[in-house]
């Protein structure tokens, strides 16, 4: 084998693997996980904010930081869930015009 490596083989190999790849079809949507986790965290931290003692508020420079952070996380979580609802994952398009080699 020569020292030079032909890119033709490599590109064909990757193109072929792309047609067999199942990630696009089977991988879940991360927006669901981010949304879910931040809604749960948001609820937990917001509740901690409602139950905050004076000591805790004094420690945080007079800010009820749990309440603010909790609400912020809740909003972010809901944003991701709404986004997912409005623009669901598009079904994968079969690669039609890939450069040769496919059936």
């Amino acid at each position: 084998m020569s020292d030079s490596y032909s890119d033709k083989n490599l590109q064909d190999e990757v193109s072929e693997l792309e047609t067999k790849s199942v990630t696009a079809a089977r991988l879940f949507d991360i927006r669901r996980i981010i949304g879910g986790l931040f809604v749960i965290y948001g609820v937990i931290v917001t509740i901690a904010g409602f139950a905050a003692s004076d000591d805790e508020i004094d420690k945080a420079q007079g800010v009820n930081i749990n309440l603010w952070t909790g609400v912020g996380m809740l909003v972010l979580g809901i944003f991701f869930l709404v986004w997912l609802k409005l623009r669901p994952t598009a079904p994968p398009v079969p690669p039609l015009e890939e450069g040769g080699g496919e059936e």
Partner: protein, 562 residues
């Protein structure tokens, strides 16, 4: 970008007042991490699924993963430390030391990377140059990735011991196990998904620290007045005191900042470090791959505020921080503010974010290591031409071995931490000549097959000689390690370029037919594909995103320049 301060010794008094609420938050996170691994498992069928997510992810996901892979905890703690020590100079690591390089990667280099269908950065060298440069860069990358993963794990163990009181070995084994589990199960998809999640969690922890820290020192004005009094007015500016020949704590002038950090070091890191580039290669089409580093650039511009401000606040609250007279090191800035300011609840979020950032930093290295080791070393030189399923199984096996090796490295680092920081410096010099070889290879057709290998060797050697001989032996007087780093990078760049040109003139060029899609001015079939539906929207145009990021970063300098 590699962290400027390497040691992570935290004072024992930093124990956080965590309670059941914080541990509940942390526990939920660990469950979700494992859940992502199990859920991503069914999406792995081919080796392309395992190593590159089947080249199918949307740009916002790969973009956030791109920035998160760099937002490891050593980076967060290190940049806060840098700010406590050097002040607003820290912004250079972001605005000039990252944005231009990320934009260059997206606009100029990505068509060649993604269009040529390579699965890794070394594989591009194989196509453009020869096997010698390919094997050299693959092997060095594999070793460096394990080393950095191990150093990351060790840094995590020290922080967790100080903050939560867990013994070091428990933290190393627990974090190692979770990373091993989710990458072995779901491959790159699960690494990327966890990085996206980590990105949001770490910000949810850092923003409250920044806001409360500012409130404590009387807002930005209070912070600025106080530090200008104690550290001089240059401390609060980006460029003050960087004239050539003038003294500043960074030990660098505007020329070495712009050329050394802004051009050579940062382009070397952002455009050829496979742990980053891999995220873009997993995008679903060329447009998404180009937009990956560009989407990442926007959060990167603003992340500096949530790491720099806590560092500056710590410098006000603990005036002696980092000096022998204080128990607190520069690296303790963020943990100290967590302890002082955060009540239970948000504290749990911040702890979770920090642990998540450590694990993501390690996972980025492991998931790029297994790809390079399997596709570039094993599949090309050791066991060739087996069926695809074999390489998926081997990829999983090498992930386990890689994690075990980095756990071993972490234990080694706990007894030989000086050697480790020395080795890290050593490997950091390899990125610079990589960039020279790429840039010349991509823009100059005549660059010969052999010139890649010799450019790599010459550049690395020159950078190392400059750092370890000329600087460390005191032949030239450079005031700080950082300043010396910048100068060494420039030396490595120049030496690599000169040797490449010289070797090219005396050796055979690569036949033009084999350079299609690898050199500027040529295209490969994959690059000609028309934009997918929706990608022609104006806000998805790579050029607009890229130049927008550059202009925004430049504008950010204005308030800090006068």
């Amino acid at each position: 970008m590699q962290t400027p301060t390497s040691s992570t010794y935290l004072a024992a008094e930093l124990r956080l007042p965590t309670n059941w609420l914080d541990y509940t938050i942390l526990g939920i996170y660990f469950l979700v991490v494992l859940g992502i691994g199990f859920a991503a498992r069914r999406s792995v069928k081919t080796s392309l699924d395992f190593f590159l997510s089947g080249r199918s992810l949307p740009a916002w996901v790969t973009g956030l993963a791109f920035v998160a892979a760099n937002l490891g905890a050593t980076e967060i703690l290190g940049m806060a430390a840098n700010s406590a020590q050097y002040g607003v100079y820290t912004t250079h690591w972001y605005w000039i030391g990252a944005i231009p390089a990320m934009v260059f990667l997206g606009l100029v280099m990505m068509p060649f990377y993604y269009g040529s269908k390579v699965r890794s950065v070394p594989e591009f060298l194989l196509l453009r140059f020869d096997k010698a440069s390919h094997l050299l860069s693959s092997a060095l990358f594999a070793v460096a990735a394990i080393l950095i993963a191990g150093v990351n794990l060790y840094a995590l163990a020290i922080v967790v011991e100080a903050l939560l009181g867990w013994p070091e070995w428990v933290a190393i084994v627990v974090a190692g196990f979770f990373v091993l589990a989710y990458i072995t199960l779901g491959g790159l998809s699960s690494a990327i998904y966890n990085e996206v999640l980590q990105f949001f969690v770490i910000l949810a922890g850092l923003i409250p620290i920044t806001v409360l820290g500012l409130k404590k020192v009387g807002g930005w004005d209070g912070l600025s007045d106080s530090l200008s009094k104690s550290h001089g007015s240059d401390f609060m500016t980006a460029w003050g005191g960087t004239g050539i020949g003038s003294e500043n704590p960074l030990g660098a002038n505007w020329l070495t900042i712009v050329l050394g950090l802004g051009f050579v070091l940062s382009f070397g890191y952002w455009t050829t470090n496979f742990a980053e580039v891999q995220r873009a290669l997993s995008a679903k089409n060329l447009s998404a791959a180009q937009r990956t580093p560009l989407i990442a650039a926007f959060p990167k511009i603003f992340i500096v505020f949530v790491v720099m401000i806590p560092g500056l606040v710590a410098a006000v609250l603990v005036p002696k921080i980092g000096t022998p007279g204080s128990d607190l090191q520069y690296n303790d800035a963020i943990p100290y503010l967590m302890q002082q300011l955060l009540p239970n609840g948000v504290l749990g979020i911040a702890v979770t974010g920090l642990l998540a950032a450590f694990m993501a930093g390690m996972a980025a290295n492991i998931s790029s290591f297994n790809t390079v080791f399997t596709t570039d070393i094993w599949q090309k030189y050791v066991v060739k031409d087996r069926e695809d399923g074999y390489y998926v199984r081997f990829g999983r096996l090498i992930t386990v071995i890689g994690v075990l090796a980095s756990i071993g490295t972490a234990f080694l680092a706990s007894s030989f931490s000086n050697i480790m920081s020395y080795l890290q410096t050593l490997f950091s010099f390899f990125n610079v000549p990589m960039f020279v070889v790429f840039i010349i290879g991509m823009f100059w057709k005549r660059a010969s097959m052999k010139s890649g290998f010799w450019g790599l060797i010459a550049g690395t050697t020159a950078a190392m000689v400059n750092y370890f001989v000329i600087y460390k032996q005191g032949i030239i007087d450079i005031p700080s390690d950082q300043g010396a780093n910048f100068v060494s990078a420039i030396a490595g760049f120049v030496a690599g370029a000169v040797v490449m040109v010289a070797v090219s003139l005396f050796t055979a060029p690569k036949p033009a037919t084999e350079l299609q899609g690898l050199v500027y001015g040529t295209t490969s079939p994959g690059m000609a594909e028309p934009p997918a539906k929706g990608d022609d929207a104006w806000y998805r145009k790579p050029a607009l995103l890229g130049w927008g990021a550059v202009v925004l970063a430049a504008a950010c300098y204005i308030p800090f320049s006068f």
